[in-house]
């Protein structure tokens, strides 16, 4: 196992960090008012390597989405630096990344095709060409023949597929995903996870995948980072996932190594989940 892991590691990372969090802290004005602040994440130093599938797990409400928003440039850190391919992200959005949100983010007034084509059109691709690429992506995510449906006419799973196509159609170098499958039923979810892995395997984008589901994190990732309970969340542990690829997410859950990894990570995560639970109850 160890030999294999090592080999994989060399092949995967040519050692240039795609996303680099350097002591990033994010504090918000608190709901309680009175000048109080709520620190969502504190001193987060984290690297996503080129072509790496990194998952971030942590208890609910621990600031996982904040990390993604910072990486996307939608949110500026209160202190610290975030750099993308070695360049610091200052104020602007991260133009190398696509972001798959937890909630439905398709434009409800555009059908699936137009939604997927929108990003390309924004980037100046002629409309006919953009639509062609969009149709191609809809086929790849399994939405062949549903291109003219509006978001409200699609099921939750179909909307996620369309969202994935929308994000991937731009061929970004980075994919940010915020619990994208959490609203789906377990069967649909496993199908989507497999499809995501297949799509990812084609050109190995750097992925930052946030989830609260540890099994999902292990099944998909090269590396899993565990965050502490909020407030002032920070990474407390990370694990290399040395499972062979290509993976079949439903089957891999049964393997010995998966269970070992799960036990090891859960050991760390459990304490944080309990802390977070105790805080929300009090």
């Amino acid at each position: 196992m160890n030999v294999l892991k090592h080999k994989f590691a060399e092949q995967r990372y040519p050692a240039s960090p795609t996303i680099n969090f350097d002591a990033v802290t994010c504090a918000f004005a608190s709901n309680e008012g009175g000048g109080k602040t709520y620190t969502a994440i504190r001193d987060v130093t984290l690297t996503v390597n080129d072509g790496e599938f990194l998952s971030i797990v942590g208890p609910t409400g621990c600031g996982k989405s904040t990390l993604l928003n910072v990486a996307a440039g939608l949110m500026r850190p209160s202190s610290g630096h975030i750099s993308i391919f070695g360049k610091e992200l200052q104020g602007g959005l991260n133009r190398d990344a696509s972001y798959l949100f937890q909630a439905d983010a398709l434009m409800p007034w555009k059908n699936a095709e137009d939604n997927v084509a929108a990003g390309l059109i924004f980037h100046g691709t002629p409309k006919a060409e953009a639509l062609e690429v969009a149709r191609d992506w809809l086929v790849r995510v399994g939405l062949d023949g549903h291109g003219h449906k509006y978001p409200h006419q699609m099921s939750g799973g179909m909307r996620k597929r369309a969202g994935l196509a929308q994000a991937l159609a731009l061929n970004p170098r980075i994919l940010l995903m915020d619990e994208p499958f959490s609203a789906l039923d377990i069967q649909t979810r496993q199908l989507m996870e497999n499809e995501l892995l297949q799509l990812w395997a084609a050109d190995r984008k750097s992925v930052m995948f946030v989830t609260h589901d540890l099994e999902e994190a292990i099944a998909l990732s090269d590396r899993v980072v565990v965050l502490s309970a909020g407030p002032a969340t920070r990474p407390i542990a990370e694990f290399d996932i040395d499972l062979d690829r290509p993976r079949e997410v439903a089957d891999i859950r049964m393997t010995q190594r998966f269970l070992q990894l799960h036990a090891a990570i859960w050991d760390v995560l459990k304490g944080e989940v309990l802390k977070s639970y105790a805080r929300t109850r009090s």
């Binding site: 939608l74 990344a97 439905d104 983010a105 007034w109 409200h152």
Partner: protein, 268 residues
């Protein structure tokens, strides 16, 4: 006991019931005035009203008035909607100016704006423009407040997603704010249709030389109640037609909207 299945989806039954309601109402009116339970001098007579309307169209004397009123209404409706849309989008996207203008807009809105009619008559004369100005002030606010609200209610996730897809601020306007506001605009346009008619008719009533409001005013001057009612009915019919036109456009442009019973997450 369920004697009758009163199903609102049964179009035939609904239309038949509407017809019964309408003819029943007209019949009672006719009965009351014919039996002299109500003085026909003050309450008119449906048969005479119908004759009057037909007569207007046969002689052609109504066309000029109708054309004037419709022109005023449509122009007021169009200009008011365009202004409401423009100012609504602008203010919704510039919080500073929204904050600055907020008390003034509230003041103008709560003011009984029909009072402007005499002032507009002085400013714009007795022609159609004083009526259009009145209609515009009425329509503008209805549309403006809805657009403002519509832009404010854009789903933040849709907005963030569209920005991440690379939309410039102009593209955000075109692909997100405008379509999102449109669903609010259309619901306000149904109100605006009626209000635009109010503007032109009240304007004509207060001072003009043509228009349906003017016809009503003349008839009232000689206590010709049948002509007054005929004029009101004529306006009602055209208001309904304009409303139907708005509904037609709404169905065409708002095809993405879920119908009743369907849900949609992102527009909530």
């Amino acid at each position: 006991m369920r004697a009758l299945a009163l199903d609102p989806r049964n179009r035939g039954l609904v239309q038949a019931s509407r017809l019964i309601l309408l003819s029943g109402g007209v019949f009672i009116w006719w009965l009351c005035t014919t039996m002299e339970w109500l003085p026909p001098f003050f309450f008119g007579d449906p048969i005479v009203v119908a004759q009057r309307m037909v007569g207007w169209f046969i002689s052609g004397e109504i066309f000029l008035h109708l054309y004037t009123t419709l022109l005023e209404t449509l122009l007021a409706f169009g200009i008011g909607t365009a202004l409401g849309l423009g100012v609504g989008l602008w203010l919704a996207l510039s919080p500073f100016f929204a904050e600055v203008t907020d008390p003034f807009l509230k003041a103008f809105n709560s003011m009984p704006r029909l009072i402007f009619a005499p002032i507009f008559a002085l400013w714009f004369g007795l022609g159609i423009w004083s009526k259009i100005a009145l209609g515009v002030t009425l329509v503008f606010f209805v549309v403006f407040f809805n657009v403002f609200q519509g832009v404010r209610e854009v789903s933040p996730v849709v907005l963030a997603n569209t920005r991440m897809l690379g939309a410039s601020s102009r593209q955000l306007m075109r692909h997100v704010y405008l379509p999102s506001a449109m669903s609010w605009v259309f619901s306000s346009l149904h109100n605006a249709v009626g209000i635009a008619f109010v503007g032109s008719v009240v304007g004509e009533y207060l001072g003009s030389e043509k228009g349906v409001g003017y016809v009503i005013l003349l008839a009232e001057g000689v206590f010709d109640i049948n002509s007054v009612i005929a004029g009101i009915l004529l306006l009602t019919i055209f208001a309904l037609l304009l409303d139907a036109a708005v509904s037609f456009c709404e169905d065409r442009f708002m095809r993405w909207r879920p119908e009743a019973g369907q849900t949609v997450g992102a527009t909530a």
